[in-house]
């Protein structure tokens, strides 16, 4: 089936920092409209794995294929990956707090007028659209720093950015760790919408119940190796916990 053609293929990638091997061997595949959850203990290598996919780190070995294109190590950077349609929402590093919501939504893609000026009208319009799409209504002012908004609203701007430009893959790194129950529900609803649109989602979460609510497949990272992979329908929480702790 055409739909089953993987949009992302990660093959045996590894990454070391100085003498520490953060990721020994990471491999997985991802199809359109699929949600894969990556779970593992702290320091297991989840973060390194997604940062390689996001273009932050170049893998020491192994390679990544996106839409049948093998990524040339020369091009392996964030800018290129974002061009390829990959967006990430980082847990603590999603927004620039002193800037406005429109700036944060357009982070790294500020629309220009005459080459050097900021096209503020375009940014404002798009921000209003995205906020409406995400059903966020209580944003006080688009010309104030985003740090004046609630944590949930800040997160929705970050997710809005991922949705707006992550046409192929959206990576969510603990997207609800800092949110209350209602906001968490909102984010989960959005994840379903992204999935329905045909975008693939990579979710990192410590909340196993959430993983079961959202993911189609679950990938376990243990001591730097993507050791096990489960279909959500054929695994229990107990088995997952066992896989996280024992590999």
């Amino acid at each position: 089936m055409l739909d089953q053609q993987p949009i992302l293929e990660v093959e045996d990638v590894s990454k070391s920092f100085g003498g520490v091997q953060a990721l020994k061997s990471g491999s997985f595949k991802l199809s359109r409209g699929e949600v894969i959850a990556i779970i593992g203990a702290n320091g297991a290598g989840k973060s390194s794995l997604i940062k390689i996919v996001a273009g932050v780190y170049k893998p020491d070995k192994g390679h990544i294929t996106i839409k049948d294109t093998v990524i040339d190590p020369m091009h392996h950077n964030v800018g290129y990956m974002r061009q390829m349609g990959i967006e990430v929402v980082y847990q603590d590093l999603a927004i620039v707090p002193n800037m406005t919501a429109p700036y944060n939504l357009f982070l790294g893609r500020i629309p220009r007028k005459f080459g050097i000026f900021v096209d503020e009208r375009k940014m404002r319009k798009k921000t209003e659209e995205v906020l409406a799409e995400l059903k966020v209504k209580t944003v006080q002012s688009l010309s104030r720093p985003i740090s004046e908004m609630s944590g949930g609203q800040q997160q929705s701007i970050a997710i809005g950015r991922a949705i707006a430009w992550g046409k192929e893959i959206v990576i969510l790194d603990e997207p609800t760790a800092a949110l209350g129950p209602n906001e968490t529900k909102e984010v989960e609803r959005v994840v379903h919408e992204i999935k329905d649109r045909g975008t693939a989602v990579i979710l990192i979460s410590h909340n196993l119940e959430q993983v079961f609510r959202l993911a189609d497949r679950i990938l376990v990272v243990h001591h730097g190796i993507t050791s096990k992979e489960f279909q959500k329908t054929e695994v229990t929480i107990d088995e997952l916990v066992k896989a996280i702790t024992l590999g």
Binding site: G79, I95, M99, L107, G108, I116, F117, V118, E120, R144
Partner: protein, 353 residues
């Protein structure tokens, strides 16, 4: 800020206020107080300059509040103002440049040398020298990852030494007529001396201020400055080339210093080895008095103008009041600390190093 934004802001403030009142039901006192403190903090530069003017008017009366004295202040401020602009660019990103004083002396000397060699347009050599020092600062700081304070401290020393070597301790004078004395190196440039006088110097300053305001508030570059001061890591993760941008920032600051050095040459009529000495401190003080937080992320061109003016007025007012120079310095130092103390939101600070 457009009218649309303004109305939106007012609307949001209104709705925010209403919402808060409903929610807190009269217990909103601490929040109201925080808001008022914030508003006060926003307006510190304007309050400070008003108080300072009133104070010296009270002390010295018409000797301070005369057209002649204000013309003098208008002539005194521009060099400090442009240096403060250079620092504003750097401080907004959360870094600092303390080499601007040395750079000023060096660039002014290079401008004079350039005019000696190439005639009128030779002054561009000075601007170029300023940019070059800025780029050097930026490269050492950004590529070699040496903190901006250490980098520019080293440059402060090195550039001054280079100036001493290049000039051999001799000054170059600007004159409005051919000089017959061959012991003095001089350039004939009446236009330059005219430029250093009121009102031309004021027009030039206003034009530069306006251009910088456009750059700071309306361009991608200006926006990036503030974002870099907000959270560099987020920018890096978003694929923005921070390393290259930081070099641009220091180059832009160097350009501002180049302009300042040119004005300084016009104003003082000489390129000397001492030019700009200790001026980095005045420039930092002007930026701080302008309400720019030294940790970066925020800043205002207009308030920096107010900061530079305040500092000039204080120096001027103290002189007119007959205060000895050393006491005047002490007063300015104290003023700096008070300004920073008010502009900082101490609740948000965990660690002070």
């Amino acid at each position: 800020m457009t009218i649309h934004e303004k109305t939106n802001e007012i609307k949001s403030q209104e709705s925010g206020g209403l919402f808060q009142n409903l929610r807190n039901n009269g217990l909103s006192d601490p929040q109201t107080r925080t808001k008022m403190m914030e508003r006060l903090r926003d307006n510190v530069p304007f309050i400070a300059i008003t108080l300072v003017i009133l104070l010296f008017w009270g002390i010295s009366g018409d000797r301070f509040m005369s057209l002649r004295n204000w013309t003098f202040i208008a002539q005194q401020t521009p060099v400090l103002l442009l240096l403060a602009f250079a620092l504003l660019l750097v401080v907004t990103t959360g870094s600092i440049d303390i080499s601007v004083g040395s750079n000023l002396g060096f660039s002014a000397y290079m401008a004079a040398l350039g005019m000696l060699w190439f005639g009128t347009m030779g002054f561009l050599v000075g601007i170029f020298a300023g940019v070059l020092i800025g780029i050097l600062n930026g490269v050492i700081f950004s590529l070699f990852k040496i903190s901006s304070f250490v980098t520019t401290l080293a440059m402060l020393i090195i550039v001054r030494a280079v100036l001493v070597i290049v000039s051999d301790g001799r000054s170059i004078y600007v004159s409005d007529q051919p000089m017959s004395n061959s012991n003095i190196t001089s350039i004939e440039a009446k236009w330059l001396l005219d430029l250093g006088q009121f009102p031309h110097i004021l027009y030039v300053s206003i034009a530069i201020t306006f251009l910088l305001w456009v750059v700071y508030e309306k361009t991608i570059f200006g926006q990036q400055l503030k974002a870099l001061g907000g959270n560099e890591k987020v920018l890096r993760l978003a694929g923005i080339s921070v390393t290259w941008f930081k070099i641009q920032v220091f180059a832009a600051a160097g350009f501002m210093v180049g302009l300042a050095s040119f004005i300084n040459l016009a104003r003082s009529g000489a390129a000397t080895v001492q030019a700009g000495q200790m001026q980095e401190l005045d420039a930092i003080a002007a930026v701080a008095l302008g309400g720019t937080v030294l940790t970066g992320g925020h800043g205002s061109v207009l308030k920096t103008v107010v900061g530079a003016l305040t500092l000039t007025i204080v120096a001027n007012g103290l002189t007119i009041a007959g205060v000895p120079p050393s006491w005047s310095m002490i007063a300015r130092g104290v003023l700096l600390i008070i300004a920073i103390a008010i502009s900082l939101n101490r609740k948000q600070i965990d660690v002070v190093k």
